[in-house]
Every structure is written in C-alpha cells, then in structure tokens.
Symmetry: C2
Amino acid sequence: MHFTKARIDALEKHTRTHLINSLSGFKSANLIGTQDLLGNTNLSIVSSVIHLGANPPLVAMIMRPHSVPRHTFENILQTGTYTINQVNKSIYKQAHQTSARYDKDESEFDATGLTPEYLNDFAAPFVKESRLKYSVKFVENQHLAINGTELVIGEIMDVFVDKAALQSDGFLDLQAIETVAVTGLDSYHTSNKLTRLPYAKK
Amino acid sequence: MHFTKARIDALEKHTRTHLINSLSGFKSANLIGTQDLLGNTNLSIVSSVIHLGANPPLVAMIMRPHSVPRHTFENILQTGTYTINQVNKSIYKQAHQTSARYDKDESEFDATGLTPEYLNDFAAPFVKESRLKYSVKFVENQHLAINGTELVIGEIMDVFVDKAALQSDGFLDLQAIETVAVTGLDSYHTSNKLTRLPYAKK
C-alpha cells in the first residue's frame, strides 16, 4: 500500500492521527508523577519518553502544552522535579485512564486508584504499583516552534527497580517486570524477547 | 532495589550505560536510509525515533554526531532527505549489524545483505525488506548542548506499508507485520497485543 503525501493530507483527521502515530514504531509507556507547590498531585501517561544519554544520565520527553499533560508541564516548571514510572501489565488500563481531561484540582491518582508513594525525600510522587521508576531533576525545555511542542530534558537521580529485572551487566529485563509498550494512540503490548545481540563489529 | 545517584555515578561505565539505557522503556527499531551527493548509500539503526505530531506529520530522532551514525547525519544535512524503515523479526540481526563502524565508502546495505530500493523517485534509499517505511524531508535540527546530541526533525512524505498492517481507522497493526522493539542497547523483542483502549474520558 502506498499513501502519497497528498493522500495522507486528505485523510479524515482522526484517521490521519492514527496512521501517523503508528509510523514511529513501538513507544515507551511511562507515567509522569508531579505535584504543584500546593501539593496537588498529577499523573499523566506519556509515550514519548526517550533515552538521551548515559553520562550524564539524561532522559527526554515531548509534551504538548495545549493538550492534557499541561498540568504536568506546569508542575515540572514550578517545582523542577518529576518522577518517571514504567507502566506494567497490571496497571496499563489505569495508566491509560490518566489521559482523560481531569481538572487541575482532581488527582489522577485518586481518579484511577493508583497509589502515590514518596521515596527518599523526593518532592514528586512515585507510582507505588510501578516496578521500575526514578526521580528526575528538570534541566531544560526546548520549545519546538514547528508544532508548539516542548522537548523536556531531565537528569536521572535515584532509580528504584524490582530486583527481578536486574542483570549482572546493568541491563534491566523489562519483560521480567511486565513493562508494556504502546503502538499508535491506544494499543498496549507485552513483549517476547528474541535475543540480546553482541556489540556489532565489522 | 534502590540505586542512588551516587551509586549510579560510581558504576563501571558499561554497566551504567546498560542501566540508563533500560530506563526509558521500549524503544522503536528503525533503519535510517540515506546517501551522499556521490550516491554512496548508508544505513543505520536508530532506537530514538519518536512521533512528534500528526498535523503536520512530523517525526524526530536523536543522533549522536560523534558516534556511528554520523554519516547518516551528514547525509541528511547534505541532501535533505532520508527514509525511515521499521525493523521486523526477519531482519533484526542485519539491522543491528549496521551499528558497526563501517567507513564512509562502505555501504551497510552491502555489508549486511539488506536491499536498497528506490521508490517514487525519492533520492534516499529504502530497505526493501522493511514492511513499513516512509520518505522524510529534513526540516531542522536542534543541537542539545547539554550532551552534544542533535534532535533531527523531519516531515513525513510518502508511506509504504504492507497491507496486512492496515486497519480501517488508520491504525497500523505493527504486530501483524512483526515489527520489533528494543530495550537497553541490544535486546530485541516481538510483541503480544493486550488490547486497544478507548479514548479516555472522565
């Protein structure tokens, strides 16, 4: 099947959104935990979290300031702290539900039944049910003028991981802790490991 | 298990790299096809391709200018064109092999046995064996001074997809075409669909 650019542009809006969202491949499923200066907690699912570098340990994500996760972005700018919590098979439905348009004074923790947890005196809430989570210190955001999104960059601080995932070389087995992946806007997947491959040499 | 920031900083370099690379969750597996102005083709696997927006249709990726994919980045800047080709179960080992340090005049197509394919008069080569691929017009790069990486943004032009993936609402079933996902630096996975969830409402 060949979709020309003209044909893509002419697609009904929701159809185009589903199609374009499918093109990048598998996406990570993470819950971003924040709170404002009054202590109102917020939780939002984000599928654009990506590894940015290991030294220093940096993580990035794309936020759309004018859509649902705006409370998250505002809280990050206000407090400089957030948590990233991997979504697993036991909580993916609750995680997805955080994408509904809750008001600022409604906590997605309360609305979905996920449990806020405060670890190691970090100001932002973790998700107790997540089996791999870490605290993040906001570093900077880059406004992407082309479509109004923000690239939010943070430094990874403390990591909390179920020991079932830990391998001797530092690799974390996300399949062992049932981390899920997302495709498109709304499809959730567990994984089957094919194999780990050795460092490629000529 | 709790890894404090101090403990992470003190990890042996490769261990830290594996650990930090595992934190973001599942990543996409894509081959970036380019060629220089002399027609030398290049192919490199990139696990940082992310959806940036559907209207206009934009895709972004992180490149490390001083590591292997620098030929890719140079070619993109020279020609303004590239292709993104999803990696599937039949070609993931060849795709991984493109991360070896080939010289500029050695094509990863030749080295791995993947087949270059030119579609719809687009200047950059596609991967014939990929079942979901699209041409991309370079839009801009943003240098991320914090660690010297580049955020490369492109506009999606023509899409070529195996019809087995196509659903009536525009969603593409990546599992049906055996697209793989990556965790960490070197682990490849197929997927099991849990379900698609409806648009979340309060």
